[in-house]
């Protein structure tokens, strides 16, 4: 327990330091988040046009609108960009300076993730608010606190899942020199399978079973579905069960691969 509290204290300090450092570039965070919102809004307009012109979609206008308005927030909140940086630390040997510190090696990357997300949130939430207001007529707003609480839990678990997968890929850099192609592959595959490009509900019916059970659904689509869709109690339970299962699985895998990697680490430049 003692180690945990100490790690948490270190994490809090490091996050605060990162926030102070990153807020120098607050202008560029706003620009960055602007980019984050354009693509979902484009998709939203296209699918609404299709619906307005009689395309028979398996979901209605309210689902599509709510889905794409929340999408920008969820993709940002669950994103992780650590793999490239960890891999370059491993390749250049700068990882060594982290290894001698009296706290977990990965805390720095967790702190970076949390602090950047906090700053992005400040820029992104007002923009989402404006888009929400523009389309307020067709937004699904679940009554009561329950759904939103579930949404928050699902986003949190999704963020942990993406971060863990990212660490897993980064850990491969202990053996491979360059993981940038793997990172790029993860991003491209995830963008389709997570529902970030097209809602998974619009995927062709032959892919349904696979799409619903694969891990990437739980990084983006599942939290949004909780608010936008009408997931039944049983579906919710199954969803959270699967999400938790994937988090544990990815966690164990990452832990094993990372530990094996550290033993193989040769500390270039030391």
């Amino acid at each position: 327990m003692n180690t945990l509290t100490r790690n948490l204290r270190v994490l809090r300090r490091m996050t605060a330091a990162e926030i102070a450092q990153q807020s120098i570039y607050r202008g560029s965070w706003v620009i960055f988040m602007l980019a984050n919102i354009f693509v979902p809004v484009t998709s939203l307009l296209i699918w609404r046009t299709a619906l307005a012109h009689g395309a028979r979609l398996p979901v209605d206008e309210r689902y599509v609108t709510t889905y794409f308005v929340l999408l920008g927030f969820v993709t940002m909140a669950t994103s992780s960009w650590a793999a490239g940086f960890i891999a370059s630390d491993i390749r250049l040997g700068t990882l060594s300076s982290w290894m001698v510190r009296p706290a977990s090696l990965l805390l720095g990357f967790v702190a970076n993730n949390l602090s950047e997300k906090l700053l992005k949130l400040i820029a992104l939430v007002p923009m989402i608010g404006i888009v929400w207001w523009l389309f307020r007529e067709s937004m699904v707003v679940p009554a009561g606190f329950g759904r939103w609480a579930l949404f928050a839990v699902a986003v949190l678990l999704g963020a942990v899942l993406v971060f863990t997968i990212d660490i897993l890929i980064a850990a491969l850099a202990f053996w491979l020199d360059d993981v940038s192609a793997l990172v790029q592959a993860r991003v491209i595959i995830a963008s389709v399978l997570s529902g970030a490009v097209v809602p998974l509900a619009l995927m062709p019916s032959w892919s349904r079973g696979f799409v619903e059970f694969q891990p990437f659904r739980f990084t983006v689509s599942f939290p949004v579905e909780i608010v936008a869709g009408r997931l039944s109690g049983a579906e919710l339970l199954l969803g959270f069960g699967l999400q938790l299962g994937y988090v544990v699985l990815a966690g164990v895998l990452a832990r094993v691969v990372w530990a094996a990697g550290l033993r193989a680490y040769s500390a270039v430049g030391a």
Binding site: I31, A35, V198
Partner: protein, 261 residues
Amino acid sequence: MRYLRLWRRFFAQAVVRETHYRAHFLTTLGVGLVQLGLGIVPTLLLFGFTSELHGWSRAEVIALVGVYQIVTGLMAAFVAPNLNRMTSYLTEGELDAVLLRPVSSQFYLTFRWINVAELTNVASGVAVLVIGLLQADVRADAGQIVQAVLLAGCGLVLLTAVWSALAYLAFWLQSVGPIGIVYTSLAEAGRYPLAFFPTAVRTFLTFAFPVAFATTYPVQALTGDLSWRYVALAATLTLLALLLTRLLWSRGLRTYASASS
């Protein structure tokens, strides 16, 4: 003329450099193909639910995706490697060295670096365009092709001008690192016909962020008969955009205080 010769040198140098990094070439090719496939996914899914949307058939939209791929490939090859450096030009003071050169610094800043590998995306875009046109059973005559090429050319210059203007904001904001991402995500709208958007957005995509001239109008010129008035409009807007960018550049340059000396 001198600039053309100079640019040919830049290009030759970029080709030589590319041959040193063959893996980069292959990765760019692979990623480009996957992205192209991914770009068609929404279109294919969309037309799984309807056969025709606002007068556009599936084949015509596939042709449009091809044009979009060509345009993004050209921009990524010739313009992006330069404008993405804008922040470092200013904050590292590299601009000093550029200003001293006996060429137009705006030309040098916009065209110095070329990413040859991105040209593979232009090739795949041409393939998709041809497939789309064949599927749509389009037989374009010479006049239509000239129209399409002129419109796409104006579209490219317009996009370059808008992106340059965004990048020149660095003179006042210091850091415009993510501006390239903003440009790319706005340009994503060019994947779809202009007609798919509400009127306000159409106006924006024609006059403010004129991606429509680079993708929608050229395809319309090929598949139907588009009035020459659109070509005239594109040319006028291009001229205007060039003038405004030039003006912004000289205004920005006056605020530049040099970072290195």
